[in-house]
């Protein structure tokens, strides 16, 4: 089977959805949509046995063969894991959304079209082996996410959140494209597999680090890493199914996927290890710390997502270290990739489940504000149970899957402090400490989330709705995810063998040749290791902090609001808008004179500097004709006429002086042996002066007071510059004639070939008749334009119509 076509199935189904929505109004449109991810999930499970053997499925179809651009679906362990997550959680989210979104009040066709578009995009991202098609799908996720966040487009916050996420993720996407282009030039291929095979050669390329940083920028913006996480909390304005699907389980993991996919290529670089591990850990701490500041349930979950993504990111970085230690090394680095993928799966289960719980609470009580909630345990027992499972897993408590991955995470971070390359021996000790502190905060906000909502005093007077248990359909999806959370704890190795190990194979191909080489056995009880004591410490300290939360939580409001990253983003947007506005107002003055000054100054600078730099000025007296007396006189008359124009007080004088200049030019034509020119010039100058006089006569009465042109130094300088430039260019050009004129041909053949005596006229109508044709056209157009200008008076007509009305 060609799996590349399956990527496009959701997109094709999306085309039909609006028809179904309009025609079949009795059934919730979501039921039709549900079929798509379920069928795809089934299809992808058939590949499971293949990837467990360490094999991969590849299929492609050409898009632009001449540019070597095609859609290549390459399904190995990593892609399959993500594809199963996308379709699996996609099915549950669609099911949940059927009960969450009202059939009559919501624009369901919009919602499901966007969601299906997103599904195609996401499947494309994780399966593409081609850099350009990967980028194509990557941007499609940004766009469909933008549409989904702005789903309730009548709310200001939705539009703001949608725009913010768009700006940040598209910025990252473009950076990533830059990295991809560099990579494709370095390796002369678009295929990621081939690039990875070339990795040792690429590592010494001068652009290697550039492409690394650019690709990471794409991954960090998408996966909401520090400092680009700010779009994620604002994206919580989306409907809750969207938050659960895009902003916890799938899209934000696209960045993680990218890092995992490119690890074999970049693992040799210390920049990669430092950036991925360091930024991941910073994000982990930052997100967990600020999650406690939030009062909105989805806000807490958004920061928790940021924090958990940081955790996975840092583990992926630690997994890259194993490139330098090798398989024989007994350090834990080679398990870090396993831990990352394992936690990625766990996070998708418990976070999806928690988001759905938050949606249920919102749906049944009318608010998500944690200060108004409380005491819902007895009213919503099932919801509470599922929320408890999810939160405890997030906190890393047994018997839930979060415990297993948290233990592996602590082990991974602890071993970083023992790594002795790339300055990790000095700074590495910080890693386990920060990780541990962040875990404590994770514990606190998990408890904060679940116990503030469900225990304590019930405050019905604050709730917009009467709280009650959710309908059963809404509980199915979180219940399935919740039971998975528990199931994975008890049977981690089944998931580990079936899903995680093939993915690890894809991330660390430099360590293993087949999946059976990965000898990792997850066990809930692994002896009295230091990690266990760290977990005990987390629980004890976390519990104490939770009990005293009301004492120290107000400290968060002490943080200066002005220094937050959101403020920085707002300032940046404001400044870029206002700044460019000011800049364009500065030079776009609206005065013709300013623009002419810009242009003339530009011409002067360009020409003079070119002449100067090229050392092109040359003056020779070799080919000049002698100066005759009356030529000099005419030149003086010409100059005198021009000066008169400049100095004239009345406009009439300047018009007449212009006429004088025109007739002098005609005299020049006479003495330089150009009779046709002289004739034309005389006639045309006469008509022109008549036209000038006409225009002069119709001057408005108001401004008819005559005055001399005011002298302005700036104008004079520009004018002088232009004059000097023209003189220099003319002198230089005249002194350096390289080839003789072609006119001798005309002179010889004018009678024999064309049968004429006046060479100029024969050139105009015979040799170069086309010029004349279009010059006639110019005159015709000008005269038609003049007639149009005089005859057509649209504005006056309109006024007449207005009066009639």
């Amino acid at each position: 089977m060609s799996f590349v076509y399956f990527i496009f199935i959701p997109m094709i189904v999306a085309l039909v959805i609006p028809f179904l929505y309009k025609k079949v109004s009795g059934i919730h449109t979501g039921w039709f949509v549900l079929v798509v991810p379920v069928v795809l999930f089934g299809l992808y499970t058939t590949l499971l046995p293949m990837v467990q053997k360490g094999e991969a499925h590849s299929s492609s179809f050409d898009w632009i063969p001449s540019l070597d651009i095609s859609f290549i679906s390459y399904i190995d362990g990593l892609s399959l894991l993500f594809s199963l997550l996308i379709t699996g959680i996609g099915s549950l989210v669609v099911l949940y959304s059927i009960f969450y979104l009202d059939k009559t009040r919501e624009q369901l066709h919009n919602f499901y079209v966007y969601l299906l578009l997103f599904m195609t995009a996401m499947l494309g991202v994780v399966q593409s082996d081609h850099l350009i098609s990967l980028y194509f799908f990557w941007e499609l996720t940004s766009i469909s996410s933008f549409l989904l966040i702005g789903y309730w487009y009548k709310r200001d916050r939705s539009r703001f959140g949608a725009l913010k996420s768009m700006m940040i993720t598209v910025f990252g996407g473009l950076m990533m494209l830059g990295g991809f282009v560099l990579l494709s030039i370095m390796g002369d291929t678009y295929s990621i597999r081939e690039l990875i095979a070339l990795a040792p050669e690429l590592a010494n390329h001068k652009w290697f680090v550039w492409s690394l940083v650019l690709v990471l920028l794409g991954a960090f913006t998408k996966s909401a890493q520090f400092p680009f996480y700010i779009w994620l909390p604002d994206a919580m304005e989306a409907p809750t199914p969207v938050s659960a699907y895009l902003h916890s389980a799938t899209m934000v993991k696209a960045g993680l996927y990218l890092v995992a996919r490119f690890t074999p290529l970049y693992a040799s670089s210390e920049y990669w290890i430092w950036l991925v591990t360091g930024i991941g850990l910073l994000t982990l701490f930052w997100g967990s710390f600020f999650a406690l500041k939030q009062t909105d349930l989805k806000g807490i979950l958004a920061f928790s997502t940021v924090s958990q993504l940081g955790l996975i990111m840092s583990l992926l970085g630690a997994g890259a270290i194993s490139f330098h230690t090798g398989v024989e090394d007994n350090s834990i680095f080679k398990y870090a990739a396993f831990a990352a993928i394992f936690h990625l799966v766990n996070h998708a289960t418990f976070k999806g489940c928690l988001f759905m719980i938050a949606g249920i609470i919102d749906h049944e009580t009318g608010t998500r504000d944690i200060r108004k909630l409380g005491g819902l345990m007895s009213l919503m027992p099932i919801t509470f149970t599922i929320a408890l499972i999810g939160s405890f897993s997030m906190a890393g408590l047994p018997p839930f899957n979060g415990f297993l991955s948290k233990e592996m995470f602590l082990t991974g971070m602890r071993s970083i402090s023992e790594f002795d390359l790339f300055a990790f021996d000095t700074w590495g000790i910080l890693f386990p400490i920060i990780a541990w502190i962040a875990s404590v905060f994770t514990f606190v906000y998990s408890f904060y989330f679940v116990f503030r909502t469900f225990t304590g005093k019930h405050k019905p007077e604050l709730l917009p709705k009467q709280a009650h248990e959710a309908p059963i359909g809404m509980l199915i999806s979180p219940a399935i995810l919740g039971s998975l959370v528990v199931a994975i704890f008890f049977i981690p190795n089944i998931i580990g063998d079936a899903l995680v190990k093939p993915a690890v194979m894809a991330i660390q191909p430099f360590l293993y040749t087949s999946t059976s080489d990965i000898k990792i056995h997850v066990s809930a009880w692994h002896g009295l290791t230091p990690e266990l004591w760290m977990t005990v410490g987390i629980i004890v300290l976390g519990y104490l902090l939770y009990l005293t939360l009301s004492k120290w939580q107000p400290l968060y409001s002490k943080f200066p609001e002005g220094f937050s990253l959101n403020r920085l983003y707002d300032c940046l947007m404001f400044l870029s808008e206002v700044g460019t506005n000011r800049l364009s107002r500065l030079y776009m003055s609206g005065y013709m004179r300013s623009y002419l000054v810009y242009m003339f100054t530009g011409i002067i600078l360009l020409t003079i500097s070119t002449v100067f730099i090229q050392n092109a000025f040359d003056m020779s007296f070799a080919m000049i004709s002698p100066i005759r007396f009356y030529e000099l006189i005419i030149a003086l008359v010409l100059v005198a006429g021009t000066v008169t124009i400049l100095l004239a007080k009345s406009r009439l004088t300047s018009i007449i002086a212009l006429g004088a200049v025109g007739y002098t030019v005609a005299l020049f034509f006479v003495i330089f042996n150009a009779p046709d020119l002289a004739l034309t010039q005389l006639v045309i100058e006469t008509v022109s002066v008549a036209l000038f006089l006409l225009a002069f006569y119709h001057l408005p009465k108001l401004n008819r007071h005559e005055n001399r042109m005011k002298f302005r130094l700036g104008n004079a300088l520009v004018a002088f510059g232009v004059g000097v430039t023209v003189t220099i260019v003319a002198l230089s050009a005249h002194s350096q004639k390289l080839v003789p004129s072609i006119s001798s041909y005309y002179e010889e053949t004018v009678y024999t070939e064309a049968g004429g005596g006046n060479i100029v006229n024969v050139i105009l109508v015979d040799y170069r008749g086309f010029d004349t044709l279009f010059e006639i056209a110019v005159l015709a157009i000008a005269s038609l334009g003049i007639i149009g200008m005089i005859k057509l008076r649209l504005t006056t007509k309109k006024e007449v119509n207005r009066n009639e009305n």
């Binding site: 004179r593 005759r628 025109g662 036209l691 005596g757 060479i759 050139i763 005159l779």
Partner: protein, 113 residues
């Protein structure tokens, strides 16, 4: 003579540009007129001013003035005349409609997008 002409042409360009930078619409059009005179003379000068007889075939003459620049200038004169005439009527119409010939008053307002 070509050297002198280069300076004369430069002077014409200078005057033309100075006029084009002024406020009055009529002066700007006068400036364009001077500019086209300058350009025409420039073409003629660059073709060489050394011919001793007009480019009309006559027996016994070999030293014609270069006919090609003259043909080019003839075309240019006609085109610049067409454009100038159009400009002038445009100016005349804008006097009628706007009641001013001051370029500074003719700039778009800030709301005028």
């Amino acid at each position: 003579m070509e050297i002198v002409m280069c300076f004369v042409i430069g002077f014409l360009f200078m005057a033309a540009v100075y006029l084009m930078l002024s406020k009055s619409l009529l002066r700007i059009i006068i400036g364009t007129g001077l500019l086209s005179h300058g350009a025409h003379l420039l073409i003629l000068t660059m073709g060489g001013l050394d011919g001793s007889s007009p480019p009309v075939v006559s027996p016994g003459v070999t030293d014609y003035a270069d006919p090609l620049p003259q043909a080019l200038i003839l075309t240019a004169i006609v085109i610049s005349f067409g454009v100038t005439a159009f400009f002038l009527v445009l100016a005349y119409r804008s006097y009628q409609e706007l009641g001013t010939d001051n370029m500074n008053l003719m700039r778009g307002t800030e709301d005028d997008d």
